[in-house]
Symmetry: C2
């Protein structure tokens, strides 16, 4: 249980992690970027347990990160799509990927690509300090 | 349980999330950036349950993200410090924070600042495509 004197820091990062700070949630978002929108495909390609996946999808829809779009009435079936807030998680996924490629040992890992017009994105991130204009050290 | 036909995508992001895809792990890293290096302070400021925190710290040390430095022999006590791999998680935390500030409702959230010479970092991230040179849409 939390320390008796726990006084968690008010923090935007902590607030975001309440929602996306669990690997299945971010892997769902990744899978939608890959173009898989249906429950069974998302379950298959993430490896997420189906009951946990249901809960995560519902929370992400409630939080406005995903939206559910019906594609069949008989039987009732829906697909999941990223909202603008969901698509805005691309930099989070990309910065995690950059970190992984530099700091984990995993020669066989797949690299996520997204379509960018007629080619695939080859993403490069940069962080700078608005105060002094200098670039921040990279991974 | 996972879908019977689960074939999880080989993915650097999934590999990273095995280690950091759990909010307490990233909150530990955040707390070290804030300059809190001792177990009791990390527990107090993250609100993490102490048993979970012990496990997370050990895994992060084993993975080379943190290192343990003794600061007392009687009784034996150690502090936790970020390794270069740990400091390289700054862009991950910053991109999560940027997303939170744009997409969550949380007027009272704290914003993480890091020292940058004589001032605090005011981080701004940008993502571009190496292939076409164009900036990617932002959060």
């Amino acid at each position: 249980m939390p320390a008796a004197d726990a006084t968690p820091r008010p923090c935007a990062i902590a607030d975001a992690l309440e929602l996306i700070g669990e690997r299945w949630s971010l892997l769902v978002v990744r899978e939608l970027f890959w173009g898989n929108h249906r429950f069974s495909e998302i379950a298959r390609r993430t490896g997420a347990p189906r009951d946990i996946l249901s809960t995560r999808l519902r929370r992400l829809v409630d939080a406005g990160v995903l939206e559910k779009r019906p594609y069949s009435n008989h039987p009732p079936r829906a697909e999941y799509h990223l909202t603008p807030a969901g698509r805005s998680l691309a930099p989070v996924l990309m910065s995690i990927q950059e970190w992984a490629l530099h700091h984990l040992e995993q020669p066989e890992a797949g690299v996520m690509r997204m379509a960018h017009g007629d080619h695939e994105i080859d993403p490069v991130s940069s962080f700078a300090c608005r105060t002094c204009g200098k670039a921040l050290p990279k991974a």
